[in-house]
Amino acid sequence: MTMTTPLLDMEGVHKRFVLHLQNQTVLDVLRDFSLRVLPGECVRLSGPSGMGKSTVLKLAFGNYQASAGHIFVRSADGQMVDITQASPRQIVQLRASAVGYVSQFLRVIPRVAAIDVVAEPLLERGPDGHPLMDPDAARAEAARWLERLRIPPSLWQLPPATFSGGEQQRINIARSFIRTRPLLLLDEPTASLDPLNSATVIELIRAARDQGVGIVGIFHDPEVAAAVASRSVTMQAPSP
C-alpha cells in the first residue's frame, strides 16, 4: 500500500433518477463521471447548483446508488471495494473505518445529548470487537472537540434538535473529525458558520490533509476553498 493508491476511484459513473410518481420523469444528474482521490489531497467540486456535486458525495458514501460505473473505496485493510457491488454490511463497515461524510443537515437523533452525539464514533467497536474507548474517556474527548468548536458547555447535555443551524453544523463537524477516517466527504462544511468558526474548520481540514486524509468537498465560499483545496473539479451539465 503506497501513497499512490487512491482512497477513492470513481470510474464512468452515471446517476439517473427515475421519478415513478411524476410520470416516469427521468433525471440524468451525472454522466460518465470519474474522479480519483489520493491521500493528502483535497479535491474541490465546484460549479453551479444542480450540477450533481452533492450527488457525487452521496454516491461515494453509498447513500445513493450508481446507475452505471464503478466506485472503489479503499478499505481499512487496503482492499479496493467497489461499493456499487458491495453488500450493505460491507458498506456499513466502510463507513465505520474508511469513509466519513459531513452532510449539510445533521440527522438529528431524538433525545441524545450533543456530547453523546459527538462521542458516539468513539464507542463503536474496532476490529477486535471491543469499543475503541470507554464511555467516560469518549465523553472527555468529545468535550474537548466541543470546546474547540466553541459550543457552550450549557448546551452539551441537550439534544441538538433545538440548536441553531450553525451549532448543529459544528456538532456535525466534531462528530466527523473526532475519529478520522482515511477518506472524508464534506458537503458545505462552513455554510452556516461565522468567520471565527470557519477558520477553525479550515484548520481541521488542513490538519487532516497533512495526516494523509483524502478529502472531497463542496465549498461555496471561495476563500475557504482556496485555503483548503489542493485542486478543483468543475461540474458541468451532462452533455446530452
Binding site: H20, L21, G62, P88, R89, V92, P110, R111
Partner: protein, 263 residues
C-alpha cells in the same frame, strides 16, 4: 469479515389456504445487524416475522439459525423447522427474544415486574431468590424503570413502561437475535422516542441482531442498518436503510417515502 451469518432465510412462502401472503423472501442476517421490514397493512411483514421466529410454520422455504454450540458461540446453521419443539422452545427462551406490539401479549400481567423479568432465569434453573431479584432490579434500571416498582404488576404500568418491561424480560438472557413487531406503535410520540433510543442503545451495546417490523420509516432509519420493503407479499426493494430511503428505486418505495409527512 469471514463471519458466518446468524440467520439464513431462503425462498420463504406463507399462505393462508390459497391466499399467499409471503412470496419467496430470502435474506441473511449477521450478528449485530438490525434489519427493518417495512410495509403497509397487508404487506405480509408480520406473517414473515412470525414465520422466521418459528411461531407460524411457512408453506415453503427454509429458516436456518446458527445455534450456539460451546462457549465460543460459533455454530453451524440449523433448520429451525427440523428441530424438535422442545429445542425450538428452548431457543425462544434463551437465544431469541420476541417483542410484541402490545406489551400485554409478551408479559404476564398477573405477576410482578420482578417475576416477569426473572422468569427466563428461573426457567433455566436459577434457584436463588436474592440473586434473581438483584438481576431483575438491575435490568429494570437498564430499561429506565424505577427499581422500587419491582413488586408491582404490569397492569399498573403505563404503555411505555410495559413495553420497556417486555424488553427487559426478553434481553435478560442476552439473546443474539431479537424479533420486534411494531415495538413503538400505539405509544405517545415522546414515549416512542425514548423507547427507540433505548432500543438503539441496547442493540449496540449488546451487539444484538434484530428484525424489526414497522410501518414507520423513521423507526427504520433510526434502528436499522438494512431494510426490506414489502408489498403484497413480495420484497420489492432491499438494501442499506439510508440508501433505500434517500434513493428509492422501486415505484412503491418512492410512494412510501414521499407519503410521509415531515414534521
Amino acid at each position: 469479515m469471514s463471519q458466518a451469518p446468524l440467520l439464513r432465510v431462503r425462498d420463504l412462502r406463507c399462505a393462508y389456504g390459497a391466499r399467499e401472503v409471503v412470496r419467496g423472501i430470502s435474506f441473511d442476517l449477521w450478528p449485530g445487524e438490525v434489519l427493518a421490514v417495512v410495509g403497509e397493512s397487508g404487506s405480509g411483514k408480520s406473517t414473515l416475522l412470525n414465520a422466521v421466529a418459528a411461531r407460524h410454520a411457512p408453506t415453503a422455504g427454509t429458516v436456518e439459525f446458527a445455534v450456539r454450540q460451546g462457549s465460543d458461540g460459533a455454530g453451524d446453521l440449523a433448520d429451525i423447522y427440523a428441530m424438535t419443539e422442545a429445542q425450538r422452545r428452548l431457543l425462544a427462551r434463551t437465544d431469541w427474544g420476541f417483542v410484541h406490539q402490545n406489551a400485554a401479549d409478551g408479559l404476564r400481567m398477573n405477576v410482578s415486574a420482578g417475576a416477569n423479568v426473572s422468569e427466563r432465569l428461573m426457567a433455566l434453573g436459577q434457584r436463588h431468590y436474592g440473586r434473581l431479584r438483584a438481576q431483575a432490579s438491575d435490568w429494570l434500571e437498564r430499561v429506565e424503570i424505577d427499581p422500587t416498582r419491582i413488586d408491582d404488576r404490569p397492569d399498573t404500568f403505563s404503555g411505555g413502561m410495559r413495553q420497556r418491561l417486555q424488553i427487559a424480560r426478553n434481553l435478560i438472557t442476552a439473546p443474539r437475535l431479537v424479533f420486534m413487531d411494531e415495538p413503538t406503535s400505539g405509544l405517545d410520540v415522546s414515549v416512542q422516542a425514548r423507547l427507540l433510543d433505548m432500543l438503539r442503545m441496547l442493540t449496540r451495546q449488546m451487539q444484538l441482531a434484530a428484525i424489526v417490523v414497522t410501518h414507520d420509516l423513521a423507526v427504520a432509519r433510526l434502528l436499522a442498518q438494512r431494510m426490506v420493503v414489502m408489498q403484497g407479499g413480495y420484497a420489492v426493494e432491499s438494501g442499506l436503510t439510508d440508501q433505500v430511503l434517500d434513493d428509492p428505486q422501486h415505484p412503491y418505495t418512492q410512494l412510501l417515502v414521499s407519503s410521509v409527512l415531515p414534521p
